[in-house]
Amino acid sequence: MLTFHDSIPAGSVMGRRNFLRAGGLALGGLTLGDLLTVQAAAKAKNLPVRDKSVIFLFMHGGPSQFETFDPKMDAPSNIRSATGEVKTSIPGITFGATFPKLARLADKFTVVRSFVTGDGNHDIKPVVSRDTLKANMGSLYSRVAGPVNPATTMPTNIALFPRAVNPGAGEAVRNFGDLASAGEVGAAYAPMVPGAGGGLQEDLKLHLPQERLNDRRGLLSSLDEFRRRIDQSGQIETMGSIQQQAFDTLLGGLSGAFDLAGEDPRVVARYDTAPLVPRDRINKKWNNHKNYGDHAESLGKLLLMARRLCEQGCGFVTVTTSFVWDMHADVNNATLVEGMGYVGTPFDHAVAAFIEDIEARGLSEKILLVCCGEMGRAPTINKDGGRDHWGNLAPLMLYGGGLKMGQVIGQSTRNGGEPASDIVTPRDLMSTIMHTLLDIGEVRLMDGIPKNVLDAVTGGQPIKGLT
């Protein structure tokens, strides 16, 4: 980037091609102008993508609406938030007491109190469901935008599990569905899972000594020379330039994007949630204690990595930790009070750090963060101090993306068990996400998108009140 600026006189217009090249080469450490690059490249390819990214923080296990964003302190003690409440920056609105940092930032994001996921089953809706053609929601986006961002070579759909930042963490929980599914959309559009292998990521890893690939590259280019008489314009030329880009990617390495070492250590420290819940403070009597540890050790860094990936042209990042929100107070899961300490406190810190960082970087129009789980929790606290599954109401928060922030959308009934205003469904949420990422009107006119994908992407109505 530097030499590039040196050689171009001030005030001259940077050619798009050069600009792209600069973007591609400097991939590891790019921060500025990346989204612009993405947009330029998308325009060049006539893709109906908007200059935005979505991070879906999936709170797997089913977070309680009471202890998060809808405490209901007026309700009887067996219903209201077990952790109490904390005042927020919006007068009259309170959150569960483990969310003090988010409470101070409440005017920066929007909470939905009438979100209904429809059932109390542990699955992986809304990220993967019938609505998404049994694919990760990001696969639908990828089907439209292409599996790889043409400008930065960054995969457009990525799923982050704790192992992406912490090799010692447990494996991704797949008992309730695979968040890396491509469902009916097709394997090429499956999310890339850093730290886990799989199609595109496998292909990005060099499987040969670099020297031998260089040798082969030389051989290929001389053998390919011979039959150049065939028309080299159009498809063949495209293939040629993409091949060169692939070599650059392989030899230059996209790996920097997946390595937090390139980030300012102070920023990493600001996000890091590990110090909040040291493993030795987690009670081993809960079978899930390792997962609580993984959650605390990884969540902040995962959100930081998600931000980096978005800056480098990834459109959809799924972030999840290891099924930690299922607070039944049974042999596996902690009580609400204890569990929110293990799980809620790092969530509060990580999401707050993320919001502050995004605000400081001026990216709040560009990145949308969505946080929810597959369901909510029952209004009545069970005898052991936990809450059981509940499909009729669930917490949902959204931040950024150029949507209207600082509001509470919808209301719940007095016992916090049902919506008391217009229901917001996972379909509505998906529609909001797709409208954020894509120019839906243009998508409708696109050729080559299968009907089922088209219907999934363009159907439904975005959540009212967000635009």
Binding site: E184, L200, L223, R229, S233, G441
Partner: protein
């Protein structure tokens, strides 16, 4: 362009006696010899056409200088727009290149303004500015609480929304400029859609005046647009040239209005031409035919430009059949000399891939290249058509289009049966119309009647009509479900009438397994038009409503209508689809979007192919034989000095990337490693996989775009190159494993005692069906002989080193464009 400017120079500077006739100029306005403008707001675009001494016509509208006399009657600007000043008569003079033309104009009622009609005048402003487009306020739910009907097809609803909704705050007659509608349009008030209007524009002034007048809707008796027309309709133009066009709206009362600046323009071939919002068409540097679609108020018209290259077509290769006659006639007219015929090596590889979906075997190639028979190409075509791979390859194509999709494991018996039926039908060369009839009018379960497999995935009458129309008739009806098709003449009534053919399709559960029985439910076929809520009878696009007795299956009537020899859609769609299969480009492109506004690049060719196909009794193999036997198909992909920019006249073979399946099979062939699809015998060719379910387990097939049988559109197969594909071929673990396999080609070649040169020749024959050139052979041999060190730095043992050399060669071959493409 060059010739014109030279000529211009010549006229201006010379008094030379050699000077031939200067161009003559002609002015046109509405197609009549005189222009009459009525009312203060009337305007008219005129065009100035020069007839050059060679007879060619060129647009001089933007080159001419204009004057009008007497003064004070009309104004005319530099772009040729005439506007009234006062009542009276005047003469307009255009001058260019020292020659002049004149045109009489009459002005009436210059002081009076016609009352504004909302539908005729205001709605087009929204359409032009994009307000009512599908991505904005025109989408089903509107945008930010403000909804307009898509492309203004429902002026009544738009009027309600603008004038009455939101307590009337969108318009403010007391101070029109302060109306929300205009403030948003100018982006003075924050507007998600940005600035859509200019405060100085006529459109703005018109809307403001309409608000000032108290938002009249207009009278029931006001004239409506009956049709629009374009002047000129067609032109032969020079590369890089431009042409102003005039768009006239003809109203029900017989009146005519210039709507050039209110219409919307779109080229069917965007790499060839573009039109700006003033109706000025600019060509780029690609020869061929291009149509500019013009839309106004739901009416469409086209301007067609023919852009010859203009080179000498001195000699043409021998004509082999009727296809060549049509193609070569066109090439001569366009001045595009075709490439030379391709050599035998190229031909055997090309035709084997295109007919049988595979590379020719080493043995086939050797025999073919050695064969001295002049008719050997024709014989090869017949051999391929008789091979089971022909049926595999085309069954694979049709299976995807007919949505033979497996979503659950238990669907397998159905998908296998339907695929098997398709394959057998193609193998036996059953007439196409019979195959389609069996699919469309199928009854029974998939077990009893595999042809009913289409109904398994395509469940609703609407899907059935949309798929049938797109697949068999090349007509896209989807849009007409909710609104008048914006590019087409099809209405919602056409849509629902067509769907009525499928209204009596009954389904019931079957005793055996989960399969359903499809049957004809006795009753009068009809459907309800969702817009008018009126029932409609079955009607197939251009036919009137059909009377079908309750006991007759309406689907049979539809199939009969399709197979009628005179059906203008059925045969054309199929021959165009197959043409594209072989030439990588339809005569109409895309191949399943045939409409007046997207004309064929060679109508006579399409006609001839369709006529022959009908004549032959819908003989699919016959069609393939005709196409592949033609000289046109057998032209080289190597361009000559002239035809490189040709993309639609078939002056050479257009190279295409191997499809996912063919590439995968070819790769296995080259590396001598078997495929491994779950549930299928090892070594099963990807081309003969019976359904889409194998995609899920094969990153290779999906990344190279094998379709999932989710739609009736060929476009579901993505042939576009992507970085993910390139990475996979260069670096995938699976492919490295194939190359390094101890039973694979590299290991075998390294152990083979023959000289390396022989083995390399063989590799070239397998991969490219040709011998390597001397330099290639030398290069490859050098690479194999190169000293190699093992990981520990010591020289490698000879066989291991050789094996590594062959792995590299194989890797390089499979990444060459010559291998990846059919050319």
């Amino acid at each position: 362009m060059l010739s014109i400017s030279k000529r211009t120079l010549f006229i201006l500077t010379s008094l030379a006696p050699l000077a031939t006739a200067a161009p003559t100029l002609q002015i046109e306005a509405t197609g009549t010899p005189e222009l009459t403008l009525r009312g203060k707001d009337a305007k008219q675009q005129i065009i100035v056409t020069a007839k050059l001494d060679d007879g060619a016509l060129r647009d001089f509208t933007h080159k001419a200088t204009y004057s009008a006399s007497p003064a004070g009657i009309v104004t005319i600007d530099a772009t040729g727009i005439v506007a009234p000043v006062a009542d009276g008569a005047a003469v307009i003079t255009a001058e260019a290149d020292g020659v002049k033309a004149t045109f009489p104009v009459k002005i009436e009622g210059a002081g009076t303004r016609q009352p504004i009609n909302f539908a005729n005048q205001i709605v087009p402003v929204f359409t032009k500015a994009g307000c009512n487009s599908g991505g904005c306020h025109g989408k089903a739910g509107g945008q930010n609480g403000f909804k307009l009907s898509l492309l203004g097809f429902e002026p009544g609803e738009d009027y309600e929304h603008i004038v009455k909704e939101a307590r009337g705050r969108r318009v403010f007659p007391a101070a029109p400029d302060n109306s929300l509608l205009l403030l948003k349009g100018l982006n003075v008030m924050p507007h998600g859609g940005g600035r859509r209007m200019d405060a100085k524009s006529d459109d703005y002034a018109l809307v403001a005046r309409w608000i000032a007048q108290g938002m009249p809707f207009g009278q029931e008796s006001d004239p409506k647009v009956e049709r629009i027309e374009v002047i000129p309709k067609a032109r032969t133009m020079a590369l890089g040239g431009d042409q102003q066009i005039i768009v006239l709206a003809r109203y029900t009362d017989g009146s005519v209005q210039d709507v050039t600046r209110s219409a919307l323009y779109e080229a069917n071939e965007k790499s060839m031409a573009e039109a700006d919002e003033t109706g000025r068409v600019k060509l780029f540097d690609q020869p061929g035919d291009v149509a500019i679609m013009v839309r106004y108020q739901g009416k469409v018209a086209t301007f067609r430009a023919t852009v010859p290259l203009g080179a000498q077509v001195a000699s043409l290769p021998p004509v082999r059949n009727f296809i060549d006659e049509q193609v070569f006639t066109k090439l001569k007219a366009m001045g595009v000399p075709p490439s030379d015929p391709c050599d035998d090596a190229t031909f055997i590889r090309r035709v084997s891939i295109d007919i049988a979906g595979r590379l020719p075997s080493l043995d086939e190639t050797n025999r073919f290249l050695a064969d001295k028979d002049a008719a050997k190409r024709d014989r090869l075509i017949d051999t391929l058509l008789a091979s089971p791979e022909y049926a595999d390859y085309f069954a694979n194509k049709w299976s995807s289009l007919l949505r033979n999709k497996r979503t659950e494991a238990r669907d397998a018996s159905s998908t296998f049966a339907f695929y098997g039926w398709l394959r057998d039908s193609l193998r036996a060369n059953r007439p196409y119309n019979e195959i389609v009839r069996d699919v469309l009018a199928a009854t029974g379960t998939v077990d009893e009647n595999p042809a009913s497999g289409w109904y398994r995935q395509v469940k609703e009458p609407q899907q059935q009509l949309e798929d049938a129309a797109q697949l068999f008739l090349g007509v896209r009806m989807q849009c007409a479900q909710c609104h008048h098709h914006p590019f087409e003449k099809w209405s919602q009534n056409d849509y629902y009438s067509f769907s009525a053919f499928f209204s009596q399709v009954g389904r019931k559960g079957s005793a055996v397994k989960e399969t359903e029985t499809i049957f004809h439910r006795r009753g009068v076929a009809s459907a309800v038009n969702k817009k008018t809520k009126q029932p409609v009878k079955p009607a197939a696009l251009i036919t009137g409503p059909m009377e079908i007795a309750p006991e007759d299956d309406p689907r049979l009537a539809l199939a009969d209508w399709m197979s009628n020899r005179a059906n203008p859609f059925f045969a054309r769609t199929l021959v165009n689809r197959y043409w594209k299969h072989f030439f990588n480009r339809g005569i109409v492109e895309p191949e399943d979007d045939m409409r007046e506004t997207n004309p064929p690049s060679n109508p006579e060719l399409l006609e001839a192919l369709a006529a022959k196909f009908v004549e032959s009794g819908y003989d699919l193999k016959g069609l393939v034989r005709d196409i592949t036997r033609s000289q046109t198909y057998q032209l080289s992909a190597v361009p000559n000095n002239y035809n490189k920019s040709d993309r639609q006249n078939f002056s050479r073979y257009y190279a295409k990337r191997l499809t996912a399946e063919v590439l995968y099979d070819s790769l296995n062939e080259l590396t001598r490693t078997p495929s491994n699809f779950s549930g299928m015998p090892a070594g099963t060719r990807a081309i003969s996989l019976p359904d889409n379910s194998f995609n899920a387990g094969s990153y290779f097939l999906t990344v190279f775009g094998r379709p999932d049988s989710s739609s009736a559109c060929e476009c579901e197969r993505t042939q576009e190159a992507s970085l993910a594909q390139a990475l996979h071929l260069l670096n995938a673990k699976d492919i490295q494993e194939k190359l390094a396999s101890s039973s694979g080609a590299a290991a075998k070649l390294a152990a083979d005692a023959r000289p390396d040169e022989d083995k390399l020749r063989e590799l070239y024959l397998i991969a490219y069906a040709r011998q390597p050139e001397a330099a290639e052979l030398a290069l490859a041999k050098t690479h194999i002989d190169k000293p190699r060190n093992a990981a520990d730095g010591k020289p490698m043992e000879a066989v291991a080193a050789k094996r590594q050399g062959y792995e590299d060669i194989l890797w390089a071959i499979l990444n060459t464009k010559e291998f990846l493409f059919n050319h």
